[in-house]
């Protein structure tokens, strides 16, 4: 899976109530370590004068770490309208169980505590406090969603608790890292992706007249910003119309009508699955045949199928291997992923990209913990996450996970490969080189 920030619950009435009514927590009641009672040898973190801001505010640098265990927290939407994403945390849990059965990391096993926040920021704050103050987790790993992560960022940074590899595509995690050194993203952010589309258009269709449909929120505006950055001086000339929609609208067809009338020959769809499908379908119905670029938030096969004939030849971008793609059927990582999933999460659908995403990001965390070394500290973990150069077996060939304090690069994945949808085959086909979309 690729992007997440899309959920803006339009329900005026029920939205308020959902926060109050939903969400039983699946909190484990294992005895937790007393604060200050770390059994692992402390790394005696020297208050070094580092060039970049460090995540070193924690009073107890080794809280949640013992000689045999690392306690990792997480929040995800197990209830409420965003529950489709709960698959991710379940996959991560399965992956960590497998890691533990392999002997853990540096002799330590991962204790993974994932709580339900219903994708509601106030609930996320509450659950995160429980994770930090009651469960004494070492780090908060891959919490879901831009609004929930924004709500807990200050809190975790004040306490020096790593908010590591968050499950959202906002650009702020990379751009504001100096201010929030305990927070780092993972997947390509929306601006990166848009820059990649811009590069492709500049190279293959320099005289394009671009019409953009975008969701009227930070997620949509991030893409728009990336597109303008990527097109540079040509932006004002190439983009003929930017049209926004609200998530409360039932059907975006009226906007597509407006965009068609501009005479554009490229149609960029920055929309969540339902609206993206409507937009592509509407273009076909209106006999408008531009080159359609669909954001990676809405590329699952259900969405493409819903778009009907409008999905043919649509271009998007990917960074992970697709477990449902026959091209990867005999890939060692994909085969192993399917085996682990079958054993540790029986009943989970291996073709659901959320499962693969969960494995991929959990694998990166394991890599960062390994890199942080035997004397694991919160500061050390963030230092490792800030300075990675990792060829993940889960990403597409040529795409590496790189960060660097020296280069001020705090966006782990910034490369993607373009892909084109084939309606007859019902699948995506990758093409061209891996493209860079660095945002600094």
């Amino acid at each position: 899976m690729k992007g997440y920030r899309w959920l803006t619950v339009p329900m005026v009435l029920a939205g308020v109530l959902l926060a109050a009514a939903c969400g039983s927590s699946s909190k484990s009641t294992t005895p937790t370590q007393a604060p200050g009672g770390a059994t692992a040898p402390a790394a005696s973190p020297s208050p070094s004068v580092a060039a970049a801001a460090q995540c070193n505010k924690a009073a107890n640098q080794t809280e949640g770490v013992t000689a045999t265990e690392i306690s990792i927290g997480n929040t995800d939407a197990y209830s409420g309208p965003a529950s489709a994403y709960a698959v991710i945390a379940k996959a991560e849990d399965a992956y960590f169980k497998w890691v533990n059965d392999q002997g853990g990391i540096n002799g330590r096993k991962i204790k993974f505590t994932s709580l339900d926040d219903s994708y509601s920021p106030p609930k996320t704050v509450e659950q995160t406090r429980a994770l930090v103050e009651q469960d004494h987790v070492f780090a908060d790993f891959n919490p879901l969603g831009t609004p929930p992560n924004t709500a807990i960022r200050q809190y975790l940074n004040d306490r020096g608790v790593p908010q590591i590899f968050v499950a959202t595509g906002a650009a702020t995690w990379a751009l504001d890292h100096p201010k929030y050194p305990c927070t780092i993203g993972w997947q390509p952010n929306y601006q990166s992706e848009a820059i990649i589309y811009a590069k492709y258009l500049l190279a293959s269709k320099p005289n394009a007249k671009i019409a953009v449909l975008y969701q009227n929120d930070d997620y949509g505006k991030d893409y728009l910003k990336g597109l303008q950055t990527g097109l540079g001086a040509s932006a004002s000339q190439m983009i003929v119309k930017e049209e926004s929609y609200e998530t409360s609208e039932p059907d975006v067809s009226p906007h597509v009508t407006t965009l068609k009338n501009t005479g554009a020959d490229v149609f960029i769809v920055v929309a969540t699955p339902k609206f993206a499908a409507q937009a592509m379908k509407a273009a076909a119905q209106l006999n408008w045949k531009p080159l359609i670029i669909d954001n990676s938030v809405s590329v699952d096969l259900n969405t493409m199928k819903a778009a009907g004939a409008g999905a043919d030849g649509v271009i998007s971008a990917a960074y992970l291997k697709d477990p449902s793609d026959p091209a990867w059927a005999s890939d060692a990582t994909v085969v192993q992923y399917k085996d682990i999933l079958a054993k540790y999460a029986p009943g989970a659908d291996p073709n659901n990209v959320f499962n693969f995403y969960g494995f991929a990001v959990a694998d990166t965390l394991v890599q960062a913990i390994k890199q942080a070394g035997q004397n694991l500290t919160r500061e050390g973990l963030m230092k490792a996450a800030d300075n990675m150069n990792y060829s993940s077996p889960y990403t597409l060939p040529g795409i590496t996970i790189t960060t660097s304090d020296a280069q001020k690069d705090w966006a782990p994945i910034e490369q993607m490969q373009l892909e084109k949808y084939n309606v007859a085959k019902g699948s995506w086909e990758r093409f061209g080189q891996v493209l860079e979309g660095a945002v600094r």
Binding site: M11, A14, P81, P250, D251, A277, N302
Partner: protein, 293 residues
């Protein structure tokens, strides 16, 4: 001109979706004087049942008929089991029960069918007509036609049939209605059943356009409410016209009032509605209620 016509068509198509759901709201209000916040979710749930039946291989129309029957019984059952015990309580209590139902149906559907997008087969052809350059989707025309048909049926039902009159009488003033020999408790249950049927029809109609997922009705319900309020909660014709007006206003304002743009088009559409209600609180077609106290 062509652009205007195309936007008008787009607005009317969206408006027809609001109108069909607004009719269900009006129906339940007319027959019980309760505003049912769960109406949208009940319609969504019925639509999922229809989807399941079609997915299992049942022909579309058979699945549709069976769904309507199930929706009717579902509506009646909800009234008998959940609304009856609180019917003597304040209106607020009943409203809260319906809000609870909203959450229950939403999560139930998510639990059973998941939150992934599903396509729903359309009873209407998926093609388009071109009238001097203006594209008209046959599906939207179908939705429009059914909304008008439902409206006519409801208007006739409430005005000219004994059952319809009995239901209205029950809603308006229960005790005299009962003295007239009307079986009032069953009238209320019947109202819920019929509203569920209209809701299910609306759900099946719009699902091919807005796609099927547990949250499909949330935005819709809001605008259906706006449409029903604008037109008047007491008039099926008003509800349809209100729904259409909301749809057209949304499409037009975003496109033509440049300083507003698409960012604020919803806000402006809503502001217009509030303005109308300030001058005509019962809605465009509502009648001021005169009641003996």
């Amino acid at each position: 001109m062509r652009e205007f016509a195309q936007l008008l068509i787009a607005g009317l198509s969206t408006g027809a979706i609001y109108a069909s759901l607004a009719l269900a709201l009006v129906l339940i209000y007319q027959s019980t004087e309760v505003v049912n916040f769960a109406q949208g979710e009940m319609a969504m749930f019925s639509t999922f049942i229809a989807w399941e039946l079609i997915d299992k291989g049942m022909p579309f129309w058979a699945a549709f008929a069976l769904t309507l029957a199930l929706a009717f019984f579902g509506g009646v059952t909800i009234e008998r089991v959940l609304i009856r015990p609180v019917e003597k309580a304040s209106v607020l209590t009943i409203v809260i029960v319906t809000v609870g139902l909203l959450l229950i149906f939403n999560n139930l559907a998510g639990g059973i069918w998941g939150f992934q997008l599903k396509t729903f087969p359309s009873p209407f052809p998926s093609g388009t007509w071109q009238v001097s350059g203006v594209v008209i989707s046959q599906q939207s025309v179908g939705v429009f036609g059914v909304a008008l048909l439902l409206m006519a049926l409801l208007a006739v039902f409430f005005r000219f049939t004994a059952l319809g009159l009995a239901m209205r009488a029950t809603a308006m003033n229960r005790e005299p209605a009962e003295l007239m020999g009307i079986h009032t408790t069953w009238m209320l249950a019947l109202g819920w059943g019929l509203a569920a049927v209209v809701g299910a029809t609306a759900g099946v109609l719009v699902a091919p356009i807005v796609f099927l997922d547990p949250n499909m009705m949330q935005g819709l319900l809001l605008f259906a409410f706006a449409g029903a309020t604008l037109g008047g909660f007491e008039s099926p014709g008003g509800a349809v016209l209100g729904g259409l007006l909301v749809g057209v206003a949304q499409a037009m304002i975003g496109n033509y009032v440049s300083f507003i743009g698409t960012d604020l088009s919803l806000t402006v559409a809503m502001a217009i509605i509030v303005l109308v209600l300030v001058f005509k609180p019962t809605g465009l077609f509502g009648q001021a209620a005169a009641r003996r106290v």
